[in-house]
Symmetry: C2
């Protein structure tokens, strides 16, 4: 169909140009014999003027009709600075109604007030909103840049199966019944993890995939049953090689999408450091406010609260916010205490304020002048500073103050005003975590993650202290990427299984063909996965995951548009050899 | 890990260079105190020489061990012209065994003699074969070029749902039981058809996706339960716009992968012409040998066989092969007759040969001299030419000769010797086909395909004669693409439903929300899908679909590597509210 250009691309420099435009009617206004129509397409909208010679032709035109318009671009007498085409309008010479439209059930505009569930039901209309179209285009661009960058580094995109085998911990697998083999099932992959490691064993050396993943998790507002990840695996690498790939990728993506120059190399912190300094394994580094372990200042304290904590292996941690004392009343500080009691089971929040050179606060009378003085010196406490102190088990004290750090930075508006992206590698995560229920150690990441080499001896002596070669990439306080260097040595693999109380025989029952594969010359390898939706959310500045998915499910994991999941014919179940359980039918 | 370059990239110009290489041991040979090892990586293989000062270090090395080698590139005294690195070898100075390997169950070489099922079971080893790696890299490249080309034309890649709604003709849907809503199901999409049309309604204008599709079809050697298609949809277009996109895309792909210049514009034929001239809706145009309707020459024939056929609405079709008479004995011609009787229910095959100016053959005595003369003139029959004739119902005569056309072109080795890609657009397919079982017309493509505009009136008077705006792209005799311009006008849609005996009410029950969507300003649109696996097969010159899939299922739709589909725990079925039917359990 004849069409000159996108409606939203016209500018003052186009004045005098004859154009043929196509689009949807955003708005129609009558001024006497003149009719003004805002015509919208993917590129934006432009005002069309129909004068008395032609306005009759559009008298029945309503919102969302599709028009083809022949006309001339002219400068506008009263420019509209709010839209990019605001300096011009198009004088229509002829018009054709391409299609009519019933009145849409939602307003098609970025400031729509329709409920989200209504918008999701009519997603095909919701998608006409410019902001959603822009996000989908950004998502496309991110994928393009990702592929271009990884391809240029020698990575090969390989499609791995969507009909896969159910994993041993299959409770989160979506199952797919087999028609040809009734009673048997496929599973949709929670990630391509096994396949990408098999590709390394298969000699592919550098693999990537923008991969669809499936996880049947319980309802959470920010989850979709299916999601997409930028999935990468490399052979013959260590952490430095992997990090270099990611850093390059992030540089390209942030430059292309945001015009933002990301650092050449990202800061690195071990998990222990992170917890100690920021009380979080995903600290937001756009602001400071580090946690200080001030236990040493109270080594000989007579203040019984601290005394008891320190004697029981706890610690005393402090967090100082400058120029904050005035912002936190007693009531507000009580709220902060409730917050950490409720969320972190912290016992209490102590606080100090420096006002006109005098330190006051909840523990001001409990601690000695010398201790106060030491504290002022250690933290550099100045007038109007607020100091929050938690004395508790180390993890509790750290995470409680870590949460307060975020809360106060936001409440005090201490985030940088300009667009800022602070990346951080967090490394050396604990290899194992204690399973209270089963009273044994479990792999924290997955049992194929390599332990730190100098910790092999500790695998059995002190599992809780063994660190792994797993890493996360954190951006502005959110985990964007997770990965690890994998075990490729069978001895090591056996030791790791043994340390979580599993014999190789049991391991084989559980991991089967995947473990078999490791014996035939497995290269050292490692990789990562980046959550695509979360990355797009950051790049587009939205905190609603449904904004970055073309056809999302709602908060109840239902596709309201197609009304899915839905019942199917008994005939369909019969050929699958399945019956709905009686219990389920009653629901 | 330290590594200079890919093993397969070293050339004579690298002589003297110090290198660090990594790879798998392809082969090890001992010559006295010297050890030769072919070291393979993704880029190819290179010969490493370990002299007596170092050969001890590799004395236990066997096939598929992984080595890191430090050495010097030197010119080879006896070059091996069979491999790209054959002019050089690497003298090892040091070596490290990175990993050992058990004896592989299959030979890792392109001339492996392992059974396909064994190779599929150990696919991770099979993938080390250079030919398979090359195909996967080609597949990656095709996807890269496709995305780059479509992106440059303004197309946006959008991921459509994998958990979708079961379609009305859902017998081929894979179902996914819902855990949150027991008794309800998702379905894996057979294609993104509905979603891509909704994206057009959503104003996306130009969509593409390299999309995973799922079709639970019965076993066929050349099918995989999941497949991938290059899926495209465009708004405000007619056939010419769509074809231009595809032609550009094919030009880019074939140039990038094969270095082959594809025609700027592809030939177009209507379905009727195709059937008439080539007896096929996907003719191979790399050779001629068109079918001739010679019915008119026998309008007044006294040859009863032809007479009866013509009187009953049949036709007489002929196919001439030059310089072929000598190749087809009576016995071979009888075989050809059996072939068309068996496959096309043709009644008989007549034939004529011109030998030394005399026309002989099965009907030489039945037809008159004048008819012979007319035939010789019409077909330009020369010495040693063979003419095959089928008199039958038009479709039978055409398809039978169409099949003989292909068979003889191959038997006579009449395909071009040089690499040739002949593209053909086939247009104007029949809109409806008669359903014998239900005794009514059915949509041949799908009921959203637009009919040819000048045929609207015939929708009710002569449905069998209505042509659609569906099109196929045929390459060297194989369908590579299928698509159509869709209906966007509700009146037309109603008429099409009516013509296949469906009321709008019934249509709504069947197509639900999708039909609802059409009322809100649907743009004219059309699109296509290219079967990616088939395209890669052509580009890589393989006729085994499993060669172009990283982890394929075998001929019985089983993944032998992971042994899937497989049984799952009863607990997993319980949370889905499902039971295996008793009948199925017994299987």
């Amino acid at each position: 169909m004849e069409r000159t250009c996108g409606n939203g691309t016209l500018r003052l420099s186009d004045a005098g140009r004859e154009v043929t435009l196509i689009g949807w009617v955003q708005k129609r206004r009558n001024f006497g014999s003149l009719v003004f129509i805002d015509l919208r397409d993917r590129s934006g909208l432009v005002q069309i003027v129909f004068d008395e010679t032609i306005s009759e032709k559009v008298k029945d035109v309503r919102s969302e009709f599709i028009l083809q318009v022949w006309g001339t671009v002219v400068a506008r007498q009263d420019p509209n600075p709010k839209i990019p085409t605001g300096e011009i309008e198009v004088r229509a010479k002829d018009v054709k109604i391409i299609n009519t439209a019933a009145t849409p059930p939602i307003m098609i505009s970025d400031d729509t007030d329709a409920l989200e569930d209504t918008r999701l039901k009519y997603r095909y209309l919701d998608l006409r909103r410019p902001s959603l179209q822009k996000i989908l285009m950004t998502r496309h661009k991110v994928c393009m840049v990702t592929r271009k960058t990884l391809d240029s580094m020698g990575f090969v995109e390989v499609e791995t199966p969507i009909l896969a085998r159910s994993t041993p911990e299959g409770a989160r697998d979506y199952l797919v019944p087999s028609r040809l083999y009734n009673g048997k099932f496929w599973a949709l992959p929670q990630s391509p993890q096994i396949y990408k490691q098999l590709l390394m064993i298969g000699g592919m050396e550098k693999y990537f995939q923008i991969a669809r993943c499936f996880r049947d998790e319980d309802l959470r507002a920010d989850r979709q049953p299916t999601f997409t990840q930028i999935d990468v695996e490399m052979s013959f690498v260590d952490e430095n090689d992997v990090f270099a790939v990611v850093e390059k990728l992030m540089q390209e993506i942030f430059m292309e999408i945001r015009g933002y120059k990301v650092e050449d190399h990202f800061q690195r912190l071990t998990w222990k450091e992170c917890m100690k300094r920021f009380g979080s394994d995903k600290p937001d580094l756009r602001y400071g406010y580090e946690i200080n372990d001030i236990s040493d200042l109270f080594a000989n304290t007579e203040f019984m609260v601290f005394r008891n904590v320190l004697d029981n292996g706890g610690e005393v941690d402090a967090l100082k916010f400058d120029a904050a004392a005035g912002h936190y009343s007693r009531k507000k500080l009580d709220e902060l205490q409730e917050f950490i009691k409720h969320n972190f089971r912290a016992k209490a929040l102590a606080w100090l304020k420096m006002e006109k050179g005098v330190l006051s606060g909840s523990i001001a009378k409990g601690i000695s002048d010398a201790e106060k003085q030491a504290l002022v010196e250690r933290l550099g406490i100045a007038d109007d500073d607020l100091v929050l102190i938690v004395a508790d088990k180390p993890e509790t004290a750290e995470t409680a103050l870590g949460a307060l750090r975020i809360r106060l930075a936001h409440e005090l508006d201490r985030l940088p005003k300009e667009e800022t992206y602070k990346f951080l590698w967090v490394t050396d995560f604990p290899m194992f975590e204690w399973d209270e229920e089963e009273q044994r150690w479990q792999a924290a990441h997955h049992p194929f993650t390599a332990p730190r080499v100098n910790d092999i001896d500790e695998l059995f002596t002190d599992p809780g202290n063994v660190m792994s070669r797993a890493y996360d990439l954190v951006l502005n306080g959110y985990e964007q990427l997770s990965g690890s260097i994998r075990i490729f040595d069978q001895n090591m693999q056996e030791k790791v299984f043994e340390s979580i109380g599993m014999t190789m025989e049991q391991a084989h029952q559980k991991f089967g063909f995947f473990l078999d594969a490791f014996q035939y010359g497995t290269p050292p390898h490692g990789g990562f996965a980046i959550g695509l939706e979360r990355l797009i959310m950051v790049l587009c500045g939205t905190d609603n995951i449904r904004d970055v998915v073309a056809f999302p499910t709602n908060n109840s994991a239902v596709d309201l548009m197609s009304d899915s999941p839905n019942i199917v014919d008994q005939a369909q179940l019969d050929i699958l050899g399945l019956q709905i359980a009686e219990k389920a039918k009653k629901q």
